[in-house]
Amino acid sequence: MTKRGQKFGKVLFASMLLTLTVALSGCSGDKAAGDSTQIADTSAANSSEANTVANAETDTSSEVPGEATETENDASHITIGIPQDLDSLVPSLSQGAGTQEILYNIYEGLYKPDSEGNLVPAVASDYTMSEDGLVYTFTLREGIQFHNGNPVTVADVKYSIETCAGLNGGEPVISAFSNIVSVETPDERTVVITLKESSSPFMAILSTVEAAIVPADVTDLQTNPIGTGPYKFVSRSLQENVVLERFDGYWGEPAHIKDITLKVLADSDSIVMNLEGGAVDLVARISTAQAAELGDDFEVLEGTMNLVQAMYLNNAAAPFDNEKVRQALCYAVNKQEILDFVSEGKGTLVGSSMFPAFGKYYVEELNDLYTTDLEKAKALLGEAGYADGFSFTMKVPSNYQQHVDTAQVVAEQLKQINVTANIELIEWETWLNDVYQGRDFEATLVGVDASTLTAGAMLSRFRSDAHNNFINYNNQEYDAAYKEALAAEAVMDDEKATEAYKKCETILAETAANVYIQDMCELVAVRKGFTGYTFYPLYIQDFSKLDVQ
């Protein structure tokens, strides 16, 4: 009897293990949609800010702060699911894109990006730039105050910028800010920033959350974050939630919803449960599969993730050092079929390292440069001396389910031209180390996004001597075109610069630097009754525009 009991126990144990395995599935779920393949580099030098600094005075900026009318929804509350806890509450120390997109609501820089990707005045109300592009003079917004009620002074601005630039001692927090020589405050409303050399992306970098203005006299920002944004910090429970409240002294258009709770949903498989169960009202970047599981209580909004998903090829590794081989892969891959398999056809096809949110820089025609043509692909392989095909290893970060899925479809498509793609799943940290920094790979399938809406944020990495040129792209024509763009920017010839950037993109596409696929679709689940979710062309969640019906 005992023996039987033991045996039964063993079987039971085995089945329990299995059940547990299924249950544990939650832990490893597809975080793909989560915190994006954020490998854009704020320090990406020499890009263009060009026309992104637009309409200096918008109608909101003329509002007198402190008199923001109490909005109607005073009891309103929303719970928003976020994929990970915030890595820091101090803007200059924040790292993850998932953290910065939240801090966007608490802190503001002198300028900040709006939903069109333009830079609009925030803590500053205006600025002028000297002819040589070395001296920026900002005018402090009148009457603007911090969440603790203290007015923002030029000393606070000086302190914040100097901290980021490392002028108060220590390393510059933002590497591009090492270009700053001095921050001066000639009077109570003027801040003058002097640069070593002119830099067109300066304003864009100044507008990121890292460069936010913080009070000089508050030393415990980590536990007591104080900024000037539309929401102020109330409390935080580590790995659990962050509570925000509308800041009624906000200078601009006040937020609609009064209370916001950000609930950490580290387990992506619990997202559907949390939404359906009513624990959260809004979750951004869910997968198509999750969206399909949601009931009628939810509206699924569709935007784009603003990145370029591609099979990035190491242009220095055989056989990808041969342009014909790379082109053959482009002809063999059917992008639309990938979308159909992986995301129910959702997503925007791209043909070069640029996505539609960039507007004028985006060249749509490049999408059709390689229409699927297996015969042509085989012919090109034959010309390159690989008539019998070849095999290579594709490293894919395992935490991004969408990339893993895409990789499988690509591998299947390449079989048709006798090319074998062996998929190797690796951890995200390993990917950063080996592939991105070590450049030790043949092919990889990821998305690359941009930290600012400057063409350089996408294109500078493909210069042959760029430090982040992880695909080892080496094309002199490209380098020349890029220089041309920079030269045009230096003399503020925007049209010519745009032309040159477009030429860069065309070269990338024509030489098949990578097998470009898509700008993935971003799905946001919002409980019916809430409105106003706004997609940004950058990695930003703007809570102030949310409203209750």
Partner: protein, 265 residues
Amino acid sequence: MKRKKIYSPNFIIGLVITGAMLLLILIGFVHTPYDITKMDSAAKLAAPSFKHLMGCDNFGRDIFSRVLKGMGNTFVIAAATVSIGTVCGVIVGAFTGYFGGLLDEVLMRVNDVVFAFPSILLALVFVSIFGTGKYNVIGALGIAFIPSFARIVRGEFIKYREMDYVKSARLAGVGQLRMIFVHILPNAMPVLTSSIMIGFNNAVLAEAGMSYLGIGVQPPSASLGSMLSESQTYLFSAPWYALFPGLMIILMVLGLSLLADRGAK
């Protein structure tokens, strides 16, 4: 009298299940109804039907074909793992158990160290150093499985080395290697056999766990564990996707457990 009854119902059930599993695995090696990586957009998440016995996955791949191949992969990995564990474990266990002394102390402390880590954790470390993939998983799990076999065999050898028949054989001048492998090892076989079966079950589960975590069999190949992992998103919309691989794991483990129990009697 119970001793004489060779075929207990449990044993027969175990035999049938294991036999059926082996048959499926064999079929999988020779032929699958569909190419296991062939995608079909028309059959995405199709429910089980006569065309696709177990339905289709999110790429429209035939789950039955993938289960057949996946079982094969799981079986090969588990068998190779247990072989490594058994061979090394028997050698280590036999020598330490038979000779004792310093060798025993040193090897068994090393054994304890390896044993102290959960096998999955140890395998994770191994894989993070040598990379992912089928053969690395075999190596990783194989090493992790050595200590348990070594202990069992050592225990048996300690028991037998002082027995009269061993003493008399020794007096008759039997060599040490012959003594270990011809005279004592066969006596340890019953215990060893059942621990091999239990070990095989653990290896099946460990492989499933590793592939589930994405470090075993790499896509687009299939193993039961990786299929479970891929299916979790579709647990509600396509339950058959998770059900069949899961069922196969249960059946494989159940069948051998029933057999192993008989062997232990």
